[in-house]
Symmetry: C2
Subunit: 483 residues, 2 copies
């Protein structure tokens, strides 16, 4: 369903009033109506989704966003908010009918304030995640959200999609990091909920509605985020574990021994590391013997007084004795730590280079991971034993990226019937373990049909009631999330 | 507006159908319709609010709660959910008209499961908070919510009121501790959202609607809660600080030095300690010299390897050198730690014994506390310089219990005009600092008028839309929270 990424100039000719109104709000320079200029906004970065828009507007202030949304409401034009456009489910790209106004938040990129004593940062929606991290670090604080896309994703998008990432294990997901929000509602009203408070018990927590709502209830324009003491030491290890149960037991030991200072806990099965070594020239396995399951573990602490490396060595020593761990290397310096992380990052790219494949982002309770992984693999192999399951990622959160690659000479992506059967096999297993079919990537366009199939009716009904209450004209990001 | 706590037997005679239906659901034994038996459920524990109910029902299962609510919906009877009835704002007591069915959740008191590897506990709504803490501890885990009422409050009430308490600084408020919920909706439908997942990004986070909603959107029947590694050491200190800014700077130093292992940080001004020593015979000031502001600090760690006491001594040593701290005592054992906590707890009871007074539960950004406290005190003293302001409590969260006591021989509670002026002076100051007029106690009946006055119109409107969507017949806990 890929269509041309042309801004619908014909519609613009027929509807000059609202284009003039939009230009009047943001200035001619920040109203994009030509196909060439609009192109980068109309296709997602993986090239899976391509849409059309009657215009792309690039407001600079909350007041401008409010005026734009009010104008769209007046003309009954759909509104599609977009941040860094790094999403994986097509949530920030308009649909194909070309009626929508795309609001790009990138010019709202001011860090409004860092309050070190209050452990908060106040930011506009268009701030790049990495800029937020850096502003916090300059004040001796940590903003912990960390994603592969952090150099280009925007904080408003992180909030609208409730981003997860590498450090959710310790610091929580985006939802856990938001104290206050400013949102332009569907009719253009501004809700200023930019409280910088840890405790505020005055009724329904409205900000929660917008976090993870993928732009379907309003446009997030600014936020107050939690900060933490900046870490002063960090230690990274690559650990060969006996099996997945051993990995989970090791994680518990590390959480206990460190006082919950485990920043990351990433599982990499043998097959994923093999692909990384095959396809990525600078990927290296720092262990001297191949093993079945690798665990990347990182500890970090704001404490200076105690060596995390000593602590990690102590826990690994015990785990080695009882057989949970068979081998391990602790990075001696930042270069070695980077090499370990590079191996983790390489397995994503390596799979892409190996073959087109199915990428499923699922979660189950951590304690159920071993049984789930075995059951899901069995379900896929019952369809075709030559299919290759590679489940890796954030096991500390019970969140694995369950990818299914074709046999060496096959093409799973080209066979939509096979793809559907495989996806169903994995999702059915997820549901049997009371898990989630979208752990951190959201729903967007990609998983709407899946959600419709797997979501309990009462949840779909409640979501529909909220949508109806907040956006009765259904103008906010149509075609996304809701079924 | 105190009325008799009689169950409306007359209404019961006129409406035998629904009483028979309710008895049929829960059994005769668990349907309370006589005034004497209903009495404990109809008045809050402070005796400020007294209501009437057509019946008190005590269901044992989610299915029974659902049937009860369905029956109430069918007969258009208001529903008032009640847990431990320890709230401070009259949220769990029915209003005066006697039409309501009060659902007491106390018999739903099963710990369904503790999953140590997943760091979760699954509980029914009627579990006593302390029972939840103990079940977690038996599995080597911590459930961190900690309140004065923990021996009798129920977890369903903690969730419905989004309870805060002593350890919110480190572990967050109740909202931060809930992973899954089961709720009976206004029409009796059961929503099973009992996911045990850290990451689950499939649309609007419905559980957030019910957390802190004070029973106005549904009846919480069960929950999945986060656990943490159990602490293995703990150190408690009473610290004489130069002033409030010094206290806040000290807290930042402690958070940084400990790697965020500060469990509690409670401010006690001189006047509050004086009242404790005056009225509470077993209260003792362990410091050898009186000081203007006391800070109770507690650190706890799951780590065994490092002494928290050494760490605390190090930070206090530096703070002593630069004058932020003038004196301190670190508890040498649990008895001494208990004595320090007893002083903290005594200041609440001591104020009650001193005189009827106004209790305001407010919050501002931590960094604004010094200016706020000065401004609020000035505002009150401008009304009457003899009024005594005592602001104490959870300064680590920016949350102080701002109490106003009459002059030695006065009675502020008896003068409703004076009370109103004082409350307005404090709340106006709170709003000037973008704070909250209810940091952790909620709204209930007590603060509905205050909320109506101080809540921005757009928030009231959004709350009204959600209420209308979820409970169009307005049967869930009427007269609470919403204005």
């Amino acid at each position: 369903m890929e269509i041309n990424g042309t801004a619908a100039a014909s519609a613009a000719v027929g509807e000059p009033d609202f284009l003039a109104a939009l230009a009047n709000i943001v200035g001619e320079k920040w109203l994009v109506t030509t196909a060439a200029d609009a192109e980068p906004f109309l296709v997602d970065w993986r090239g899976l989704f391509r849409g059309q828009a009657v215009a792309v507007v690039r407001p600079k202030t909350t007041a401008e966003v409010a005026s734009v949304v009010r104008t769209c409401h007046q003309y009954r034009l759909p509104v599609v908010p977009q941040g860094g456009n790094t999403g994986l489910v097509g949530g920030a790209v308009p649909d194909a009918d070309g009626a929508a106004v795309l609001i790009h938040l990138g010019r709202m990129n001011q860090i409004r304030a860092v309050d070190a004593a209050n452990y908060t940062i106040s930011v506009e929606a268009g701030c790049i995640l990495q800029t937020v991290q850096e502003a916090a670090a300059q004040a001796g604080r940590l903003f912990p959200l960390s994603l592969g896309a952090e150099g280009s994703c925007q904080i408003g998008g992180n909030i609208a999609t409730n981003a997860g990432g590498m450090r959710a294990l310790r610091y929580g997901i985006m939802r856990d990091l938001v104290l206050g929000l400013e949102v332009v509602l569907a009719d253009g009203t501004v809700w200023n909920g930019l409280k910088r408070l840890r405790k505020n018990n005055v009724g329904y927590d409205l900000k929660q509605l917008f976090i993870g709502s993928e732009g379907t209830l309003g446009v997030i324009t600014a936020a107050v985020l939690k900060l933490f003491p900046a870490p002063k030491q960090r230690t990274t290890a690559l650990i060969a574990v006996r099996d997945v149960p051993a990995a989970i037991a090791l994680l518990s030991s590390l959480r206990e021994a460190s006082g919950d200072e485990v920043d990351a806990c990433e599982l990499m099965p043998r097959a994923s590391v093999d692909l990384a070594l095959k396809h990525i020239s600078h990927a290296r396995d720092p262990l001297d013997e191949a093993c079945e399951d690798y665990l990347l573990v990182e500890l970090a602490s704001a404490r200076e007084s105690v060596s995390l490396q000593d602590l990690l060595e102590g826990v690994l020593g015990e785990a080695f004795e009882d057989g949970r761990v068979t081998n391990a290397v602790i990075a001696a310096n930042e270069t070695q730590a980077s090499e370990i992380w590079l191996l983790r990052e390489a397995i994503v790219e390596a799979q892409r280079l190996e073959a087109p494949h199915l990428k499923l982002d699922v979660s189950v309770p951590v304690s159920d991971l071993p049984l789930f992984l075995a059951a899901a693999k069995a379900g896929v192999e019952a369809i075709d034993p030559a299919l290759r399951c590679i489940a890796f990622g954030h096991v500390g959160d019970g969140n694995v990226h369950f990818n299914v690659l074709p046999p060496e000479d096959g093409d799973i992506a080209a066979d939509s019937n096979l793809s559907k059967r495989v996806v169903s096999a994995v999702y059915d297993t997820v549901m049997a373990f009371d898990g989630s079919i979208s752990a951190e990537h959201g729903i967007g366009q990609l998983k709407r049909e899946d959600l419709a199939r797997y979501q309990p009716g009462v949840e779909a009904k409640l979501m529909g009631l909220i949508k109806q209450a907040m956006d009765p004209d259904r103008l906010m990001n149509p075609g996304k999330l809701l079924t």
